[in-house]
Symmetry: C2
Subunit: 364 residues, 2 copies
């Protein structure tokens, strides 16, 4: 039987730097734990545009559909700011999400004990924080038609369409309820049902799926503006949050920043199961391509490494090995290893991107 | 010459309670400062629905168009949750915004010294914070057509339309640049130009207005998700933020909560100037109708009182009197008067809604 396959797309900015450390960790699992993967690497984002004139080549898209998991670094950078909308680096990522039908984006917002001081929030508000944001990722205003800029009389008009079907809402709701059952058994759904009809449908469908299939899970609804407030005021009130593509974008970034652990946060984007039961899946750090620190050995590879841990858990059914990797990361943090973004007043041992890889490998 | 006119719409929940204190303050200005207003009171939101079957009667709308300023308390409450979308309390407020063409919503996020400890953020991150969020209020996904829920085959589909014209963006951009010139001279515009064409148009038009008319103001652009992050990480980097209706809804609530002063924050919604040079205007607290504490004398009237201060400044050209009122509020806080929402570990003198009105009148 062949090994499970992984497509690595390091992308732009610090993407390649952090991904280099993940590659070493994948190798370690092959050598030491007899968990071998067939790994191939390709381009996405600006890097793909530079070579192919598009942010994701068709061949890369085709491979992404075939492999068992995709690991992505980050896309985008100022160099590409003036590109036409249709070939912006982000379009590569959006094409992957859409064509792989990755409707459920899992974004844990977790506060690491060793880093609680990094949060701009008071320690007691965030320490021990552990929220899972489930963001719908293949629909809504990101993909709705009609869209574009056109002329009406003398002036330009910009249009986008927020569009959700019942089944699109139902499937991401299910994925949130399933997750909640393995965690605190509590889901809060966020929309603007007070001003948007698409929000009314969202609320109704989430409630219906709950009542029919997950009555044991505690469900609440909140307007997204209040959601942003409550995340800042008392984030620990939440367990799983489920919301649409656009609110999920803003609220998950807000939640991530609360933790003070932005360079630490992974994400998983999951689709429907293949014949072998594995969901189509893409894993990527929550942070972006950080052009300001690219190439300086300053990037924190942990978010990307923990994204691979999520791959072990969700794509390869290796929960124990995922935990092993997560524990190794916790250990090096407790031991004081700190990339530049983690250097606070209380000190620690400054390490480069590669050195962070070194100590995590040692801890493994 | 007749007195300037004010239409008071107390609305639902704590709206009437906080507005009662504002009425006393308006009377004080008439008696002691010879600033007389013709005040009339009417219904909006659930209160209007209960009487008229609609959340804003046509006669009320007509009066709102005629008066010099509208003061609104709050709308909404659980009692109205199951009403049809078209008659929900919120529709009354949205109708006022739309028909009065109140395109520029000014939402200061300000941290009051005496209350810095209330923020969930660390004191050094928020103390002295003073941001002005300028939110577009008459367009975008709140009002775009087509909208609604319909059937496609067997399933329901929910649709809303984000739509911005060049002139809608230009006028709110101008209002942000004008404000910036009177403050820190810095504007940050937020959108999702990386995924939404309406965001591209937003960014382009803001930049064009800047280059042509306000080159002296410092302008930057930020994606709204990053904006949410930066608000949490380091809010003091901002002076004026300009953004669309929906992002403005979420980001201004997030910013308001950062300050720890939610019960303190006023807002002004301004339209085009009338023949007499006064802009059409509606003033309201940022907080909602707070059904959980309605009728208990617990509500903090300060946000509503400071909204009247904004009316003095923006509608009645009484900047000095506005400052007098704001200083009175600061004084009672410094003296320790605290409604329930302001009661922290460091104590203070607990006061009811009415007592807070009493001490502010005394301080005046
Ligand atoms: C890069 C961008 C297209 C993307 C998004 O808006 O979804 C990013 O912000 C994210 O959250 O993954
Ligand atoms: C009450 C509601 C319609 C309103 C909005 O969404 O604009 C409120 O949240 C606000 O921010 O004023």
């Amino acid at each position: 039987m062949s090994n499970p396959s992984i497509l690595i797309l390091p992308g732009d900015g610090i993407g390649p730097e952090v991904m280099a450390q993940v590659t070493r960790i994948i190798d370690w699992f092959g050598e030491k734990r007899d968990l071998k993967f067939d790994v191939e690497t390709d381009l996405v984002g600006g890097a793909a545009y530079d070579k192919h004139g598009v942010p994701l080549a068709d061949e890369t898209m085709a491979r992404a559909m075939e492999v068992d998991a995709v690991l992505l670094g980050a896309v985008g950078g100022p160099k590409y700011d003036d590109l036409d909308f249709s070939v912006k680096p982000e379009r590569g990522l959006l094409r992957l999400r859409k064509e792989m039908d990755l409707f459920s984006n899992l974004r844990p917002a977790q506060c690491f004990d060793a880093l609680a001081d990094f949060s701009s929030l008071k320690k007691d508000i965030v320490s021990g924080l552990d929220i899972m944001i489930v963001r719908e990722l293949t629909s809504g205003v990101y993909f709705g038609e009609p869209r574009g800029i056109h002329k009406e009389g003398n002036e330009r008009v910009g249009i986008n369409t927020q569009r959700y079907t019942e089944s699109e809402i139902a499937r991401v709701a299910r994925s949130a309820f399933e997750l909640a059952r393995k965690r605190g058994n509590k889901v809060c759904s966020m929309e603007k049902a007070n001003v948007m009809e698409s929000g009314i449908l969202w609320r109704d469908v989430v409630q219906e799926i709950h009542d029919a299939e997950y009555p044991d899970v505690e469900l609440s609804h909140m307007y997204a503006d209040n959601g942003a407030m409550q995340l800042v005021r008392a984030p620990k009130q939440f367990d799983v949050i489920v919301t649409d593509n656009l609110f999920g974008d803003v609220l998950s970034d807000c939640a991530a920043m609360l933790t003070g652990s932005l360079g630490m946060l992974p994400s998983a984007s999951l689709g429907l199961p293949n014949a072998d039961g594995r969901p189509k899946a893409l894993y990527e750090p929550v942070h972006g391509s950080a052009p300001d620190i690219t190439g300086q050995g300053k990037a924190n590879p942990i978010a990307c490494i923990l994204s691979f841990a999520m791959a072990l858990r969700y794509s390869f059914d290796q929960g124990a090995e995922a935990t092993r990797l997560e524990k190794a990361v916790e250990k090096v943090l407790a031991d004081g290893a700190r990339t530049a973004d983690l250097m606070g007043p209380e000190g620690g041992t400054p390490v480069s991107t590669t050195q962070m890889g070194d100590v995590i490998l040692e801890a493994l």
